[in-house]
Each structure stands twice: as structure tokens, then as C-alpha cells.
């Protein structure tokens, strides 16, 4: 992820999509937000969505755990697809809520940015893995 070509050609465009969707949601709830690359700006607040705020780390952690767990490939792929979807939906809520908090309740922005959302996202990835691993159990002997 930190390798520059991968960052420039995969991660940044992916983050720009997240910013685009987040901005659309923000505008739908009445925030005068504008997207520009990886930035969301409004007259009262601005954020630059960087690595660590795009949900990719949580997806990579889930990917590593699922690939390392003995399970059939079909089950692994289903878990990865569902997990990525859940993580990205949650990350969308994260970006939108953080922007809203920054614009209207700046005093708690740092707490939610640093601690609450980071931990919630990782906790979700871990929870998804634990639930999935309990479901597939020892059926991975063929994998």
C-alpha cells in the first residue's frame, strides 16, 4: 500500500471514489460539500482523506486473516466480498460523520477521528473474521 505506484494508481483513485460518494451523501443531508481529488471542502470545514481513512487497512487485515485460515476458496472469496462491502459501507458512514462532526462539533472531531472510528473499523474486520471462521470451522481441510 505504501509502494508508490500502487498508491498512485490504485489507492488514490479508490480514495477519490470514496470522497465522491461521501460528498454526494453529505450534499444529500444538506452540507454544502465539494469534492476535489481526495479532499472534501465546505465553507466551514475541510478534510483530506488519506491512507488510513479509506478502509483499505481494515480490508487488508481481513484479507490476510481470511487467506491464512484453512477454508474452501469459495468460502474465502465470499467472505472477502461481503467483508469488503461491510467495511466500505461503514467507512462511508465514518467519512460522512467525521466531516459532519468537524463542521458542527469540532471539539469531539479528534476523539472520533483518532480513536472511535479507527477502532470500530478494525473491530468490525476482526468480528467478521471471527464469525466467518466459526461458521466455516474445520471444513477447510480441502483448501
Amino acid at each position: 500500500m505504501a509502494v508508490k505506484p500502487a498508491n498512485d494508481h490504485v489507492i488514490v483513485p479508490f480514495t477519490e471514489r470514496i470522497v465522491g460518494v461521501s460528498t454526494a451523501v453529505l450534499r444529500a443531508v444538506g452540507e454544502p460539500a465539494v469534492a476535489s481529488g481526495t479532499r472534501i471542502t465546505s465553507p466551514s470545514f475541510a478534510v483530506d482523506v488519506k491512507n488510513g481513512c479509506n478502509g483499505v487497512e481494515a480490508m487488508l487485515i481481513l484479507l490476510a486473516a481470511v487467506l491464512a485460515f484453512p477454508a474452501p476458496w469459495r468460502s474465502r472469496l465470499a467472505a472477502l466480498a461481503a467483508g469488503a462491502l461491510v467495511i466500505q459501507v461503514l467507512n462511508l458512514v465514518r467519512v460522512v460523520s467525521l466531516f459532519w462532526l468537524g463542521a458542527h462539533h469540532r471539539e469531539v472531531f479528534d476523539l472520533f477521528h483518532t480513536a472511535v472510528w479507527q477502532t470500530l473499523l478494525i473491530l468490525t474486520a476482526v468480528g467478521l473474521f471471527v464469525l466467518w471462521s466459526r461458521r466455516v470451522g474445520g471444513r477447510g481441510a480441502r483448501a
Partner: protein, 198 residues
Amino acid sequence: MGLAPRVAAGFLAGLLLWWTGTPAYNRLLVAASEPALRLSERPAATRLYAEERRIVVDRADFASRSERPSLPGDDLTLNVILLLALSATRRRLFRDRGVLHLLAALGALGLTHVAAVVVAVKALYATQLGSWSAAHYGAVSRNLWVGAAHFYRVAGCWAVAFVLWWAVVRPGVSAASPPGRPGRRRGPRRASRPRERG
């Protein structure tokens, strides 16, 4: 209490502990990390101070008027929230030696925090101090320290909390038990019945 409320309670307890305890914990952390850093220094020059949620790095050879770099101490110790949230999944956490297991995990987590501060300070020395960094750290050691610090921030800190929960706090029920087959039980075991042979 169901699983979700327990996890939520553990998450909130961790958040409260981390948010209110960070300034005091940072003082403890710098007191433990400074001697660890000085082990590799000749002469020992590093001095660490806790300033609220940040850790300030000072050196005996810094110019007296230059600005002191600092690290976000709270970012390095954030994984305590994950550990407490995961630990809350254990039923009867406050019984059956659960508290002892939790304290052991928290102690081990504290040791990893000391290592994280040491690595973060080394990464700062290797890359953030301009010509001083270039004069004292080669390309390999620069990449090594920054890579280690980056790895900890991206995945390592979460992996440590997960492993400590999995290995120390988690109940004996295997997460990999096939459906319908009970995992290992805690508490007194029944004597196993000898298998009949036909």
C-alpha cells in the same frame, strides 16, 4: 448480557480508559522507554517528556533554541480499546481467573507500547531531523526503522491486541470449532469414559 452489548461496553470502557488515562500513561511510558532507548546510545543522549497526549523527544546534543520534535503518544496506545472490546466477548470475564488473564494481556500490551515508542523515536531520528538524520542513519537503517514504525501503525498495533486477546484472554472455546460440535469447556472436566472395544 448478550455479545453485542458486552462488546459495546468493552469498547466504551476502553475508550474511556484510553481518553482519560493517556496523559498519566504517557508519563509511565516515557519513564520505561527512555532507558530502553538509551541502551543503544553512546553517550546516552535521549530524553523523553510526556506533554498531555504527546511524547516530546529531546536530546543532549540538540541546540537549546531548536524546536523539540514530538510523537502522538495516544496513537501508539490506541489498541488498548480493541483489546478491551475483544476481551468483553469472554463470558464471566470477572470470574474464573478472567481478570488475571486480562491483566496479563494488558501488561504484555504495555511492553509492546514501550517497543513502539522506541521504534517511533528511532524512525523520527532516522528521517525527520534533516542533515543530522542523513549523517547518523544509512539508507538501510532509515528504511528499517520507518518500515517498522509504519507497520506498527498500520497493522502491528491491531495485530498485537488481537493476538493477546486470542492467546491470553479469549475463552477456551475454539473459534474454529465446526458447527454443532462444542468447543473445550472451562471448569471441572469429567473423567473420560474408556472407549469400548468391540
